[in-house]
Point group: C3
Amino acid sequence: MKFFHKDSFDVKTKGFNDIIDVTGEVISILKKSQINNGALNVFVVGSTVGVTTIEYEEGALSDFKEAFDRVAPMDAFYAHNQRWGDGNGFSHIRAAILGPSLSVPFSKNLIELGTWQQIVLVDFDNRPRNREVIVSIHG
Amino acid sequence: MKFFHKDSFDVKTKGFNDIIDVTGEVISILKKSQINNGALNVFVVGSTVGVTTIEYEEGALSDFKEAFDRVAPMDAFYAHNQRWGDGNGFSHIRAAILGPSLSVPFSKNLIELGTWQQIVLVDFDNRPRNREVIVSIHG
Amino acid sequence: MKFFHKDSFDVKTKGFNDIIDVTGEVISILKKSQINNGALNVFVVGSTVGVTTIEYEEGALSDFKEAFDRVAPMDAFYAHNQRWGDGNGFSHIRAAILGPSLSVPFSKNLIELGTWQQIVLVDFDNRPRNREVIVSIHG
């Protein structure tokens, strides 16, 4: 009987609030683990990227970007930009608010998400990035 | 010595930012688990609902709704609504920002929340819903 | 072979969105655990404080505060303040949105954060506080 399994995968993004559905990759790692019952953690490495769940349809994805345009507008003043000149101050703030980690339970080796609930990575950076997602499974 | 326990319960909500204190249900599952020391994960199934902790008093609950009225106003334009006509675009965005999962440690079979810190489910949908909350306990 | 370790530490804060880098304390507890591979949970006790990851540099820390000034301004009306008179209504709302918990994987007893990604406690309260941070490590 196994109790712990960990694996990771890479995701290429376009940046600028690019939202990528990673549910398939997470489920694939869960299947391979052969752990029946437990909870898994999805973590994305980096300070300008986050994870959450959302209904993965174009309308909601675009609305999600609109909300972050209210919370941390791209064209607001950012002290980070003034100091470092990389122009991604908004990306850091959005990522810190959303957070880099998410935990989801599973039973009978099946993930317990809702039908319209997908696990997504949101890349807030201002350029294309290659991201590492780490899945830790505890039975 | 047991290391893992999982259970779930249902919550009836009114929707529209209905905030339900589920601390009692979570503690009850923890007690039954007889696991002394570890961390538990609270997960809510669905893409228009989230979990967090808050001081469960009427003022804070009403203020919480006000903040989400700023971030994702009910009467803003939502591409989701235009495509699907179900009018709950704001619900999806609020839920994706808050997130569906939360982890809390426990010691001596007692949950380690602050005195004024309760575990809550927030139903952002635009109608009453029946929600499933899954509690995964790892010792 | 060990599978679970838990420890905690205290952090003195100034309140008012004081952001404290606790990565060093978390890594120190991880080292002591001698668990090689797994995920750890960082939880902060209290309803006016949260945890997340951010690039810990002055610019981003100041920008982070600005974003929460948009979402839950200090000078907005808060029903919580009207009822309790403690003036920290904004603190409760910010903390509930950010959340009190975060999970991070580790391999070979090393935490898997990005180079510019630090674990931080954000104290939103309107006065100095002493906070307890609990680290639960599962191998």
